[in-house]
């Protein structure tokens, strides 16, 4: 994997990585992915992908209101809060 590919991957993963971390991850991912390359040789023609160990039907709960978190409880751990809202930096740069 090239450095540019790795940096793109970190961007997709929304991770800030220091140059030393990128170097280390590049080496480690290379080793791990090489070890896992045996999967490519397995014949999986007509083998369905298994997404879960149990059948997952589209389950619905009864349409009944149940107790839920209060606004205060939901916001108590917010790193920044104003009234009943989370505070975030500008989503559009320059639009504070």
């Amino acid at each position: 994997m090239t450095r540019a590919e790795l940096e793109q991957l970190a961007l997709l993963a929304r991770l800030h990585l220091e140059p030393a971390e990128l170097d280390q991850i590049a080496s480690e991912l290379g080793i791990v992915l090489a070890h896992f390359s045996e999967l490519a040789a397995v014949d999986t023609t007509d083998v369905p992908a298994m997404t879960h160990a149990v059948p997952l039907d589209l389950r619905l709960r009864p349409d009944v209101a149940l107790p839920s978190l209060s606004v205060d409880d939901a916001l108590r751990a917010a790193p920044a809060r104003a009234g009943d809202e989370f505070v975030v930096p500008a989503i559009i740069p320059g639009n504070d």
């Binding site: 999967l39 397995v42 790193p79």
Partner: protein, 478 residues
Amino acid sequence: MIELTVAATARAIATGQHSAAEVVDAHLARIAKCDPAVGAYLAIDEAGARAAAEIIDRMRDARAPLPKLAGVPISLKDVIVTKGLATTAGSKMLAGWIPPYDATVVEKLRAAGAIVLGKVNCDEFAMGSSTERSAFRPTKNPWDPTRVPGGSSGGSSAAVAARLGAASLGTDTGGSIRQPAAFCGVVGLKPTYGRVSRYGVVAFASSLDQVGPLARTVEDAALIFEAIAGFDPRDATSLDEKVPPCPFGDVKGLRVGLPHEYFDGAGNVDPEVRAGVDRAIAALRDRGAEIVDITLPHTHLALAAYYIVAPAEASSNLARYDGIRFGHREPANDLLELYRKSRGAGFGPEVKRRIMLGTYALRSGYYDAYYKKAQQVRTLIKRDFDKAFHFCDVVLTPTTPTAAYRFGAKASPLDMYLGDVFTLSCNLAGLPGISVPCGLTSERLPIGAQLLGKPLDEPTLLRAAAAIEEVCPIGSPP
């Protein structure tokens, strides 16, 4: 009192031999004295435990019927959410987070009368096999403090082995209950996928995660399992199946399958571990079980499949930690920078590695080659078990290739991953599995035997494990 099992504690309190307050005080004193050397607990809830004990004692004084686990002191892996009690998942990302609700398993245990002593250490977001990946500190193995307790539920296994609670809840995504149980000489049960609610459990890999007990006896593991299992409408993968009682009985006629891939394959089983597992096999044979050779031919692919599926799911699940609603936040000028800096600072190296691996496997153009392929191999592994269970009722293997290793011995990620080789298939196939002690090495380190069962057949697993436990007592850590 600290030596009492779950079953004996509940009996002692119900009969008035001890009060719940006495039991809690004895355990809190033990934690204060011994945990600094073990490092199992990340948070201790003294006030909550004492208040819960008082309620149990008042019920008993009023001759009210006591619930099944009344007064039993337990700990919880720190990925299990507890109302009003810090939950960190072993990560700086969640340091200081006080959840506003209890996980379903916590609600169930409290309703059964169990008393939560506190939260115990684990590898960060349950990603690791030694607790060395905890952001706070490693936990030490009570049998030898120079060695790891296993992981990721290493705080749970160490706490139970060191008598810092009668039992603990852990989570198992690729062996994280069974492997630490084996390393610390306790019993660890990973229930069938869907058997126990995951509501309120910090998600790692949602198609694999399962909550289960670690305890000092098979009977205790069964008691905790019965208390936490069952349908939960708040978990879309929760199975709406009755939880049968787990009666113990003889194993006469039980067919025990030995997959040669686990004994002769790439696992490189340590000879002393092999000898311990041979004792477990002999124990079952002597009690009338039928030992049969079976094959699980895709076993060698489990490691690769797991380490694609689990990081892929983790990379998605951990997207929620973005510094907005809860968790660590770094100062930033715009939203993207806030995400990246907060996650870069909040997550540790193993978590970042797995997020990167998962993102790689899921990205456009690579999905079919990695994630889909791994899921197809998962089907092949499940089919192996389906076929094997035509010839046997349970599968017996070593839990781990070696006994507990020294801190720092598995420095490279791949070395660490290879240690999980015997426990991963169980999660990929969604089966129940249990690790039960089956002896000590010449260095007096515990050895675990692993039993894997048919879906929803925890009672048979527990019955077979009890037969092994009966003839392989290992005693207590020094």
